[in-house]
Symmetry: C3
Subunit: 342 residues, 3 copies
């Protein structure tokens, strides 16, 4: 790829005298070769940048690494992301467009530009839009709609009537539209409550591997535009994940909880059901949230509370055994003093 | 469906003058339409019930919502569950009974009423009983037995020699019969211990998506009648889950632990190995249990202890930083007092 | 199997007068039959050993169970593991070597001794070495290399360019090579960072069911020789798991964290990103680790700290509500004393 193409994508210009090199790849400062472009997103690595073999470097405006072609941008990490997308392999893994071993119900409406891998099953009345690419051994059950330019990786299961937007990525082993966990009780035995809702995944959502997203009851479970879900996450029935919210691996969200926009959940967080997590809230790793979280609030711990307060409690806990001893000493000395003053 | 059919299922009667309406669906108070039936399971929503568009409503005996046809039952939530089952879609997702792309070993004994989806593999000497419905791209390994009226969703893997009862539901991506995690050590390297046992899933069990149930060693891992297991749960080798026990998503149970009847484990709970959890015990969300739990006991926290005691400790922790300061003040004032009284 | 074959495998000898019995299986003390061999790995079960029906028993050197043929070894638990491996069923589950329904790209180089189950897909330019056995409905994506004598169970997904060593076991539903969770941000929306690295799984590694291992970025994610990973574990991009390290179910390791050799992580542990966990370190169940752990250090809790210190803090916490009351009493009595001494 020509360096000028990268500069164009980053909306910056090549320095005047810079040759329009052929760039082979983007790499880290350490692993870049002589035909690589790299990036400096943290000034503490400026020496590594100088020592990198890269021919070109994406830097923050105002920074210059001598001996390299510098592409100046506002946010070098964002520049890295965009450049990496330029270098991404785009070709499907399997011969297409539709592998002869895929089983497509004749009532499914599939755009001619869609690729479908071997062993994948597409059920009745499914609709799949332009340039969507589906891997091997997936199951797309009846009446599912998938938008354009999606990437559905091998081994994904999308259960019936799910609605997937455009430019959505769903990684291997993930199950969309499993039935929610709801039971009534009769004489000590559980009676299952079937779920009639669906799952709606809006545009530009990305979902990791081996995730489970339960269908809603009456109304859909919704993952809103631009959200990010890491591996092994559980999204229960009727949860709503707000726009541009993100959650790390192994998070679990219980039924009917609603996340606002731009919420961040760190790894292994658990949210109880029927909560509201406000816009821009942050929940620390492994926290267990049992109450609503206000917009912009940062909480952690179990039960989750204000982040700074929790940090102070955690620090204080370390001194707890010593404090217990001190309280006993105080008691003893106070009793002696009482005796003495009587 | 006729309202009289629903009333019959709920073992109640239509009010005398009520017309035997055609009911299209069951829905929530809010989402019901004019041809819906709905339910009132919590009296705090009685105004919503009055404002609901539903034609009919399932209520607790003695409650009457004016303007609706009232079906009076002991437990409206249970009435909802049963009515919802009436409305559940029952038809298989794929043409059947056995999709031509399914690969069935000729030694498997499969009842003529069984439906098997495309791409599903059934191994040697498997037995599958009446009216069981298996989805797409499943793998049922050799010598597995599956009872009648089961629902095995797309993408389930059941490993060899597993025994599945009647009316069992297993959701997509779940693995039954994976090998347990057991190792001896020789000169600092692990030596694998093969597991010779199986998994036994009794009647009326329901298992969520992307769950793992390890086979036992010598004796089987057992999920007893009527148990409920949510998504992404780990059941290790030789665990026994008692009748009508239930566990929420992302619970992990270590090897050889036994749950009694009617045990409830909230989300993300972890149980150590070789424990006994008594009948009717409750374990709070995210708790880590390292000791036996008595029948009927409620525990939470890490390490898990009595629920009420843990709640008091959690409340006290919030005051810990302030208490540390108070103890220091006490020390200082006591020293002054000592000086003064000398 | 002849008892002498077992003795030979355990590098011990049959007692002089012992007949070279046919042994049907290895079993526990309790479940052994008259043609079983069993083992005594803990002397507290010596009475069970005497009462066992087993014909032969693996014991620690110096122990003799009368009435049984005793095979004396240094470590009976290790002897059990090795004997169990002798009795393990080795035959593939499906007719082979390559099931006619498997779809193998003509550019794949597959040794003639490899078995591949029905419905499995093998992509372009894959290489699979001698005696490796792949289950049903797996997907092995383009340019993946798999060594010799591996066992890849049904439903495994190995994404493109992964490198799997020799004698590796990967259980059902596991995804190797999913894309890591990395995003830049532009105007409040996430911009995906594609990952160019791969996953390298070295020799003798064993990975459980429904695990996710993300591919690295620039450099590979690495699982080193002999490591053990239980079910539902998350390994993020660029993690390095050291030789002979082991982790229990539902552990999550964040990006770029490095485990040394012989590290043990108990169930549901979470490790933050960019940490170093030293050789031989131990992390207790459910701990959340946010700082480096020294070689040989034992930590637990959240945030994880020294194991013994954490145990003392946990014990002290139980007394916290009572201590709060005592501090209040001390305050009150001190004030009275002050008044009295004025």
């Amino acid at each position: 790829m020509k360096l000028s193409e990268i500069a164009h994508c980053l909306n910056c210009s090549l320095p005047g005298a810079a040759p329009d090199l052929d760039i082979l790849n983007i790499s880290s400062l350490e692993h870049a070769g002589e035909k690589s472009i790299t990036f400096l997103s943290n000034n503490k690595f400026i020496d590594d940048a100088r020592n990198s073999k890269a021919a070109a470097i994406i830097v923050k405006k105002g920074i210059v690494i001598e001996g390299k072609i510098n592409l100046e941008v506002d946010d070098p990490y964002l520049g890295y992301a965009k450049t990496a997308q330029l270098f991404e392999e785009k070709e499907p893994l399997f011969d297409g467009p539709i592998h002869p071993s895929a089983i497509i119900d004749p009532t499914a409406a599939i755009d001619v530009s869609v690729w479908i891998g071997p062993g994948t099953i597409v059920g009745k009345s499914c609709v799949i839009d332009k340039h969507t690419n589906i891997g091997a051994n997936c199951v797309i059950e009846n009446s599912t709609k998938i938008g354009s330019n999606c990437r559905i990786d091998s081994g994904v299961i999308i259960r019936r009537k799910s609605v997937i937007g455009n430019r959505v990525i769903i990684q291997s082993g993930t199950v969309i539209g499993s039935e929610g966990f709801g039971n009534a009780v009769e004489n000590g035995t559980f009676v299952r409550i079937p779920c009639f809702g669906t799952v709606v995944v809006e545009d530009d959502v990305e979902i990791g591997a081996n995730v489970t997203v339960d269908r809603g009851n009456f109304t859909p479970t919704i993952i809103r535009r631009g959200a990010r879900i890491d591996n092994l996450v559980q999204i229960a029935h009727n949860v709503e994940v707000g726009e541009h919210s993100a959650m790390a691996a192994q998070v679990g969200i219980s039924g009917s909880t609603r996340l606002g926009k731009g919420v961040l959940l760190a790894g292994q967080v658990g949210l109880a059901g029927h909560l509201t997590i406000g816009d821009g809230a942050f929940v620390g790793a492994k926290a267990g949230v049992s109450k609503n979280v206000e917009p912009g609030q940062k909480v952690t711990g179990y039960p989750a509370r204000d982040l700074m307060k929790t940090r102070r409690v955690e620090a204080a806990q370390l001194n707890l055994p010593e404090m217990m001893k001190e309280v006993k000493r105080l008691r003893k000395e106070l009793e002696q003093l009482k005796d003495n003053t009587l």
